[in-house]
Symmetry: C2
Subunit: 319 residues, 2 copies
């Protein structure tokens, strides 16, 4: 053994529950997965969660300091509760911290997936060297976590960081939250694919259509990326535009919070360097003079394992 | 005497320097004013500042705990510096805290005018009962101060709170900061008056034109308010629209920071209840579900004296 400490990180997603033993340096020692079975309602999800944790605790003989859980939806890290996660029927408000703590008699911490990713990036990833930054996760939704002076900023009820619901056009696209012009309504995965589907008619020469054999149901950010990587103009234009929309929202965040560092994660961030460059260019163009030369936009370093590593880091962050 | 404590609050504005003895309950004991003489450059402004402070210190025999300064422009409360305040030739960066401390041998604190107003509202005004809120000052510019968990949030360099430079339309009105769609470019005093001037041609029956005798150079928010108070439709429409634009920007702030309380100050806030109602209606309509029922929008309580009282409060806030 060594003098490292360990924690169990649990990434409670809509489809799968991912679990991992992680050191206090962010190294994954082992990982596993069980299905979430969300259609079975809260009792089933809790049962799967307990099952997953029991199995890894039995398999590994390493002593752990505690369990950290990252969950989708509205999470109160103070109360330990998860409220109405997307697509789990009959959930309501469930105190997962209490349930898991009583079952395993270990310290348990919880936060929402974006905050957990932000804490992970701060401790082990792209945010190590920065006092304050915003993490943006570009996926089905557009989430965010705010690190202010090396602390996660939770807000009054733990709901802070909703970067996706910054409006970039008061008369813009309708968002499923009911508001207009939310940046999520432009770059959230489904919205973005809808926009591309609509526009592809005008871009018959785009390599995207070839790759998907004209079947627009096959459209994914990955496909767009593939087309862009061989120089497809329309694909590159999409990426440029995603960067622009995200950049406009982040310019407002930068001006409001005097934050100069942005870490970009989530599936859509697979657009890579062209996306990062477009975001950076837009922010630098739009922020106040004193911020322009300080703006840094970097990709997240914890990729697929962001959930597990970030969740485990809650244990070390809080203790 | 009593067991109250006192401080000297100094409101360093572009035209006047206002000074006041203020108790730690926010009561103004006495106040005075000298001109800023900004055209004389930094030496002249500093000399006026010293003169104003000397005079009140000589006149009053109350012991004070320190001097608090609220200044326009870019202020670093940590370093004690004011950088390039608007319209003072040759200013550069001046360490006012050091200069005033050396002259009067008293603790000296400084912050920008919006932060100082926010601290004042937190300690003595409309923010007394709230953990977190945003103060918005609607004037020539649109400023802001963020109180998060009973602390002023300064950001990396003290520049946080620039609510006026949240973009509400990525393709909108050009702001003098160089960006597009900043809420200041819609509701900042000069911008707003420009919009009204343009539109008045289409509102020949508006009472505004009667009040100003068709001389649009006389337009002020006060005139619009006068017309609105006797039911002028166009004037009421302007106020409604100002509330809408401000509300859109504050909805983004609310979603981002999980803040539910907004305090509205500054000259344009003289529009009063119709403005407050319009801001509130817009925020409630646009924010995420969990915030809707918590939204509070209230007028600032410290009006003309916000600068003096707020500045004095820096002494008690920091000590």
């Amino acid at each position: 053994m060594n003098n490292k400490k360990y924690a169990l990180g649990v990434d409670l997603g809509g489809t799968n529950i991912k679990l991992g033993f992680v050191s206090d340096k962010g190294e994954i020692i082992s990982s596993s997965m069980v299905t979430t079975n969300r259609e079975g309602g809260p009792q089933e999800v809790i049962s799967q969660l307990k099952k997953g944790i029991s199995e890894v605790l039995l398999k590994e003989e390493i002593k752990i300091e505690g369990i950290g859980i990252g969950a989708a939806g509205s999470v109160s890290s103070k109360k330990g509760t998860v409220s109405n996660p997307p697509n789990v029927p009959g959930w309501g408000v469930v105190n997962l911290v209490k349930i898991i703590n009583e079952e395993f008699n270990l310290p348990v911490y919880i936060d929402n997936d974006a905050n957990v990713a932000a804490i992970g990036e701060m401790l082990y990833g792209a945010g190590k060297d920065y006092n304050s930054f915003a993490l943006i996760t570009l996926g089905t939704g557009v989430g965010g976590g705010l690190i202010l002076n090396r602390k996660i900023y939770q807000g009054n009820t733990g709901a802070a960081g909703e970067i996706g619901h910054i409006s970039i056009d008061y008369n813009g696209r309708l968002c499923n939250c009911g508001s207009k012009g939310c940046v999520e309504a432009y770059v959230g995965n489904h919205y973005l694919m809808d926009i591309v589907k609509e526009e592809l008619g005008k871009h018959q020469d785009s390599k995207i259509l070839k790759i998907i054999n004209n079947n627009t149901n096959l459209l994914t950010p990955k496909i767009i990326n593939e087309a862009a990587s061989v120089g497809d103009k329309y694909a590159l234009q999409i990426i440029e535009r995603v960067g622009f929309y995200v950049g406009v929202a982040l310019s407002s965040v930068s001006n409001l919070l005097d934050i100069d560092t942005f870490i970009i994660g989530g599936g859509v961030s697979a657009f890579g360097t062209p996306l990062i460059n477009s975001i950076k260019k837009t922010i630098k163009k739009n922020v106040l003079k004193t911020l322009k030369n300080r703006i840094k936009v970097v990709p997240a370093m914890l990729k697929n394992e962001a959930g597990i590593v970030g969740s485990s880091s809650l244990v070390f962050y809080n203790s």
